[in-house]
Amino acid sequence: MTKSPFPMDERTRVIIMRVCTIMYVLTLMALLIDILYRQFVLGQSPDSFNDIAMIYTFNVIILIGAILYFGGVPFLKIRLKPVLALFIVMTVSGTVFTIIKYRLTDPLSIINKFGIIIAIITIFFLIWITAAFFGKRNMEKIL
């Protein structure tokens, strides 16, 4: 058996994973700060950093989906109230952010954007519910 140049045991693996997790969260936070800084301090057009916003959004969707899938959350025991509260908070904060981001004043365009935001957040929740469902099924199979 050849020896690895970096001998790793369970402790070093745990440390590496912990450091990676912290760095990942810091990167996500830095991306968010970067988006807000460009938007509200530098006053750049939202189109100029859409790529960063997309990366951030996909990361968060996949991160939560992966946690739900690999965590094997007891699907039927998920309480509806906190999920609904989260949905409302996400919709309201998303709408407020969009109004500020695009400087919307016209009520019609605000309602239009509100519909789009609800549709997007519903898609997010559907992805997470699907991940939780398949994660639970996978966990049942293993058990």
Binding site: D9, E10, R11, T12
Partner: protein, 66 residues
């Protein structure tokens, strides 16, 4: 501090490095377990116990102080 592990290792005439090689861990990990600063996984506990010809209880069980 896990004095039981240290005593069992010395009883077997093994250095931290030798025990580490037997259980495929690093010397630092063994040192930290002996100092009580790292909680090993059950898999590693079993390897250590088997290498030192002891049971898990003999090495890792701690009586609760009432």
């Amino acid at each position: 501090m896990n004095i039981k592990l240290k005593l069992a290792r010395i009883e077997k005439n093994l250095s931290q490095q030798e025990l580490a090689e037997l259980v495929q861990a690093s010397r630092q990990t063994i040192g930290l377990i002996e100092k009580g600063q790292y909680n090993p996984s059950l898999a590693l506990c079993l390897k250590i116990a088997q290498s030192l010809d002891k049971t898990l209880d003999q090495l890792f069980w701690e009586e609760k102080d009432d």
